[in-house]
């Protein structure tokens, strides 16, 4: 059972407070959606949770992030990478590399300095490629992939890392509607949920409603609000989060949020 807990987390960027005092807990079995306007601080929050900006924690002594009961500053990077993985918003592919090698990079935290990925690693990663609809792409160069294909490969790399906690920054960005649902179905399937704690930044409220059981709102002024999707996702709250009128339509037992 993995957990990621924040206590009185305060985040600032260039004098602006992104979140004032955030306390919440992500556990195995839960799927969290992080919602907020552009620039509200969703990505910065995710980076902090992933230990990518430890300086923020040094600056605010009252803030704390704990991973599986241990303060994030006290975990060395390699151990952290075995417990927590993150899908970044974009990739910087400058040098050529094959799809298979890129997928295998996810095994990095589990291998020793002079160890090469063995057949078990390769089979495992090939299986993941197949799951994400990238079978047969193994020898393709990553610079020749489309945005959506690169995104799915990114998820394969992340899943190959085999961490219990997953942080995803806009996982369905660049994906067509079919792949959006396939990907979200995969990471919210019951057997997957039993072994993972997931938090993701989403821009599509309806996807959040369909696939996530918990929601974290980040408002403009550093106020945050966390709770179950059921309690939180209503037209009134969403209108306030986005500063734009949003209403709810119910047809054939389906609830859909839309703009007026």
């Amino acid at each position: 059972m993995a957990s990621l807990v924040t206590k009185n987390l305060k985040l600032q960027i260039a004098q602006r407070t992104l979140c004032e005092s955030l306390s919440f807990e992500i556990c195995t079995g839960q799927t969290w959606a992080i919602l907020g306007k552009n620039g509200a601080g969703k990505t910065t929050l995710l980076h902090s949770l992933a230990g990518l900006n430890k300086q923020q924690l040094d600056n605010n002594k009252a803030s704390a992030i704990t991973i599986n009961g241990q303060a994030i500053q006290d975990i060395n990077r390699q151990q952290l990478a075995q417990q927590l993985g993150m899908l970044l918003q974009d990739f910087q592919d400058v040098f050529p590399a094959t799809v298979l090698d890129t997928a295998l990079i996810g095994r990095h935290p589990h291998l020793k300095a002079w160890q090469w990925p063995d057949n078990k690693d390769i089979d495992f990663v090939k299986h993941l490629l197949k799951q994400m609809g990238l079978a047969g792409y193994e020898q393709r160069d990553i610079t020749s992939l489309s945005g959506g294909e690169r995104r799915r490969l990114g998820l394969v790399t992340l899943l190959g890392q085999q961490t219990e906690i997953l942080l995803l920054d806009e996982p369905v960005n660049h994906l067509d509607i079919a792949h959006q649902h396939q990907l979200l179905k995969y990471i919210t399937a019951e057997e997957f949920k039993q072994e993972h704690a997931v938090a993701m930044v989403l821009h599509d409220i309806n996807l959040a409603k369909q696939y996530c059981d918990h929601v974290l709102f980040i408002y403009d002024d550093g106020i945050t609000q966390a709770g179950t999707a059921e309690d939180m996702l209503n037209a009134e709250n969403l209108t306030e989060v986005y500063g734009y009128p949003i209403s709810k339509i119910t047809t054939d037992n389906k609830t859909v949020f839309t703009t007026n």
Partner: protein, 329 residues
């Protein structure tokens, strides 16, 4: 497992090429030796003209090999550090510092022996300048873009100083200055120290090699996979700079080896730095040894600076690579 065997085979092949390149360097020159003359000399060292020729050529070949290895290693490391395929060992202006110091030494008429030491001090000065300025005052965070910009600007500055010195130098000194600037291996004939630096740097780099496979794909990405990037980047900068300083000190600014050799190795499909780094060293060493043999035999008895030969080989090869990579996209 299959891949691992292929890797060993590849390194073995490069080792054979390396030995062959040194052997060719012993054979060819203003007086061409026969193969059996060289073997005879190795079996029974004797005092003869041949023996002297072989000894001189051997020293020069080893100097060329170690310089090529240092340049290729520095290039491969620098490309990861600034995550730019166009990076070469000279991009941060370290060779500029060495050149200014070397030209001043020539201008002041210091003895040849002290030229090496002076150039090394110049390289270290340039290195320190980049270290300090790229970090900024009171700024603990450090990033490759800032490093690259700082280095490029400093390199331009050194270039201006070099032109200034050339403008005010008497004609009789200009010739040796130009040779030094274009890269020339005829000054230095004691390759032992640069071999030691090459060996130590390669071993140190091999300990970082696996993390480089991740860092080359992005700094934040590497962090999410457990790499302490700040720490790693400092070590990379230090290693690459030291290799560059040692190479420039030995032979002036020889172009293209540091830029194209890592790309040549990547073209064979090798991207893992645990293989790429030693392969670059062997390939860079062989290439420069062969280029130097050409440079002293093509217009014999006139020797041309080896930098001209590496550029003449390097430019078409590099343009070909560029075309190829664009055709793939």
């Amino acid at each position: 497992m299959v891949k691992k065997n292929l890797h060993s085979l590849f390194i073995a092949l490069l080792l054979i090429i390396s030995l062959a390149s040194i052997f060719i360097a012993l054979l060819i020159g203003s007086r061409t030796l026969a193969v059996d003359e060289i073997f005879k000399n190795f079996l029974q060292p004797q005092q003869s003209t041949q023996a002297l020729i072989i000894q001189l050529r051997m020293e020069r070949a080893l100097a060329a090999f170690s310089t090529g290895g240092l340049l290729a290693l520095a290039g491969a490391l620098m490309q990861v550090l600034v995550r730019n395929p166009l990076a070469d060992p000279y991009i941060l202006g370290i060779s500029g510092g060495a050149s200014v110091a070397a030209l001043l030494a020539i201008l002041l008429g210091l003895p040849l022996i002290s030229l090496t030491a002076t150039a090394f001090v110049g390289a270290l000065t340039a290195m320190l300048l980049v270290f300090i300025l790229s970090r900024g005052l009171g700024n603990r965070h450090w990033n490759p873009t800032r490093l690259l910009l700082t280095g490029v600007v400093l390199a331009a500055g050194w270039g201006a100083v070099i032109s200034f010195i050339l403008t005010f130098s008497p004609n009789n000194k200009l010739h040796s200055m130009l040779f030094w600037l274009m890269g020339d291996l005829s000054y230095n004939h004691s390759p032992a120290s640069s071999f030691i630096i090459l060996f130590v740097a390669l071993i140190a780099a091999l300990f970082l090699a696996r993390s480089l496979n991740v860092l080359i794909r992005g700094e934040q990405f590497a962090q999410t996979l457990g790499v302490s990037t700040q720490n790693l980047q400092w070590k990379l900068l230090l290693l690459a700079s030291l290799c560059t300083a040692a190479a420039v000190t030995q032979a002036g600014s020889i172009g293209f080896i540091g830029l194209i050799v890592p790309h040549l190795i990547r073209l064979t499909g090798i991207h893992d730095h645990r293989i790429l780094l030693p392969a670059s060293v062997l390939c860079g060493g062989s290439l420069l040894t062969l280029a130097d043999t050409l440079s002293r035999s093509m217009f014999s008895p006139i020797q041309i600076p080896v930098g001209i030969v590496t550029a003449l080989i390097g430019i078409p090869v590099f343009l070909f690579l560029l075309q190829r990579s664009e055709a793939h996209r």
